[in-house]
């Protein structure tokens, strides 16, 4: 079950709106499918990202995945802990292992993202259950 305090993209990123900022990470479902995560290439602070464009790269022992920005805006903070401990993404994807904080350019962009329940359903359908 994915927490309901945030929104999810169909590409498996989450964004938690905190005032004017959006904290971004990857979902539990995503980390579960990637397997053991061994490397995260964080975005640079100050980088402007557009919704749906590449935000960072997450690498597991078996795959490399691009993570896309769920909202547009400027990257104002990145989670340096992931540089030395990328496995945090497996352990606590919705908490300690957030990836970046984005200054949200357009709050309206979150309306077409999924809430926790809808995302659970989406994951189930995608997995073919």
């Amino acid at each position: 079950m994915h927490p309901s305090d945030r929104k999810y993209s169909k590409t498996h990123e989450w964004v938690k709106i905190e005032g004017k900022e959006g904290r971004v990470g990857i979902s539990h479902h995503a980390q579960d499918h990637l397997g053991d995560i061994v490397f995260v290439e964080l975005p640079e602070i100050g980088k402007q990202v557009k919704k749906g464009e590449q935000l960072c790269v997450v690498e597991s022992v078996k795959a490399v995945a691009d993570c896309y920005a769920p909202v547009s805006g400027k990257v104002v903070k990145v989670n340096d802990k992931l540089v030395d401990k990328p496995e945090l993404l497996n352990q606590d994807p919705h908490g300690e292992a957030w990836i970046a904080v984005v200054e949200v350019a357009d709050p309206g962009e979150t309306t077409d993202l999924l809430d926790g329940a809808a995302y659970d359903k989406f994951c189930e359908e995608e997995s073919g259950h």
């Binding site: 490397f39 290439e41 690498e59 795959a63 490399v64």
Partner: protein
């Protein structure tokens, strides 16, 4: 013996199956006037002995380094290859092995590559090496490209003292990548320091060769400062044999060490196959092109060797791969490893010292003739250039008649140095050979 596999009966059956009566009918669509209607003008068949004699006769037309005395270097060097190298590399399980894509059945090959990587890291003072590249030129070019990827910049500063063919390869790669290559001229045989500092501004990397193509030893520490002051990476093209006597790039702050590994146990062999050395500092580990072998333990705690960091490779992410080179020079790398382990640390140092001493003896003897002054004042290792009172091309062709390869006329790559001859002296050259060369050159008019 007839090598054509189809019998008349086979052909008949195939034609029956598709419903044609003759070969002519099968090719009816081809206009008559373009059909070849003569016998092929090739000689009759020969016996095995006749073929052997013919080919042996043809091969005698090539100068062979067992028969001629070689002072020619310019990127490929006539070093001694210990007998162990051929013995090990001739084992069929090694020389028939293609790229080890089945790690579970190629543990020995993977372990050898792992050991090769380790030896290259020890020699260059770097943290990680790949399983090898095609040759020194491609390794140099890749160093330029990964610098661009790493820094997000699109300019590569390269010294004119880097091998001309490596620079040409670098330019070809950079063209495809959309990066500019800026050449820094040499002054007095070494990279011009002022120009280098200017070229480093905004560059992804600075590439110098040490010893450089002209044989001179560069101020590698100054180049390091120039590169890093501008936020550029620093790549050094090395002659691995020189590292027996010169400081390795890892000790003076290079981010990348690349170079031609032919000198490590591989024959000159008319130009290849050769071995590209590619080693970097830890920070660039995810930018390395090509294969990297790692050591691990399996689920029973046993040591095993695996291909690692593959996610940066083309078969995982083609569009984002550092390089689309996928084959390394496995057998040449095996030869290099056997060479390095046979010689050992002390042996490589001794080879380096012999090269250094003999090259300096040859240079001194040539200078003493009063006709062949050294072209540059900079210190040199095993290769040096002399100014010649006669056309260097003539020296080369004249001495060739006596079975001596005198060197490389620098005018071929550097028009401003057309009176200079670049000469290499390896540990294989004897005093008698050097004296003969000097006497022969002294007598030329």
């Amino acid at each position: 013996m007839d090598y054509i596999p189809h019998t008349d009966r086979d052909r008949r059956r195939m034609m029956d199956a598709i419903g044609v009566k003759s070969i002519d009918e099968l090719f009816a669509d081809i206009p008559e006037q373009v059909k070849f209607k003569r016998r092929l003008e090739i000689p009759e068949g020969m016996s095995e002995l006749e073929v052997y004699n013919l080919l042996y006769g043809l091969s005698k037309k090539n100068a062979n380094l067992n028969d001629v005395v070689c002072f020619l270097g310019a990127g490929a060097y006539d070093h001694y290859v210990p007998a162990t190298v051929d013995h090990v590399t001739s084992r069929s399980e090694l020389y028939t092995a293609y790229t080890p894509y089945q790690p579970e059945i190629s543990q020995a090959v993977l372990q050898i590559i792992y050991e090769y990587q380790t030896a290259i890291c020890e020699l260059t003072g770097m943290d990680v090496a790949n399983a090898s590249h095609y040759d020194g030129a491609t390794a140099t070019a890749e160093a330029g490209i990964i610098s661009c990827m790493h820094t997000g910049r699109k300019k590569i500063a390269v010294s004119a003292g880097v091998h001309p063919e490596y620079r040409a390869t670098l330019k070809a790669y950079a063209h495809g990548y959309g990066a500019d290559v800026v050449e820094v001229p040499c002054a007095g045989g070494v990279t011009d320091a002022k120009n280098l500092a200017a070229a480093a501004a905004g560059a992804a990397c600075v590439i110098v060769q040490n010893p450089n193509f002209l044989g001179c030893i560069e101020d590698v520490v100054a180049a390091e400062k120039a590169a890093h002051a501008e936020g550029a990476l620093y790549a050094v093209v090395v002659d691995p044999i020189s590292l027996g006597v010169l400081k390795p790039p890892g000790e003076y702050g290079a981010d990348m060490a690349v170079g031609e590994g032919q000198a490590l146990g591989n024959p000159i062999s008319f130009g290849g196959p050769y071995l590209g050395i590619f080693a970097v500092k830890e920070a660039l580990v995810r930018r390395i092109p090509g294969r990297v072998i790692g050591m691990t333990t399996d689920n029973r705690g046993q040591r095993g060797f695996v291909m690692t960091l593959q996610t940066r490779e083309q078969h995982i992410r083609r569009e984002k791969a550092t390089s689309n080179i996928c084959s390394n020079e496995a057998l040449c790398a095996v030869a290099a490893l056997v060479y390095m382990s046979t010689m050992g640390k002390q042996g490589i140092k001794e080879v380096g010292e012999l090269c250094l001493d003999k090259a300096h003896y040859a240079a001194a003897r040539l200078e003493a003739t009063g006709k062949y002054p050294l072209a540059f004042k900079a210190p040199f290792f095993k290769e040096f250039a002399v100014r010649c009172p006669v056309d260097p091309e003539k020296i080369v062709s004249e001495l060739c008649k006596d079975g001596i390869l005198a060197g490389y006329p620098l005018g071929r790559a550097y028009p401003e140095l057309k009176d200079c001859l670049l000469m290499a002296v390896t540990e294989k050259r004897t005093r008698e050979q050097i004296d003969r060369l000097v006497a022969r050159m002294e007598g030329l008019k």
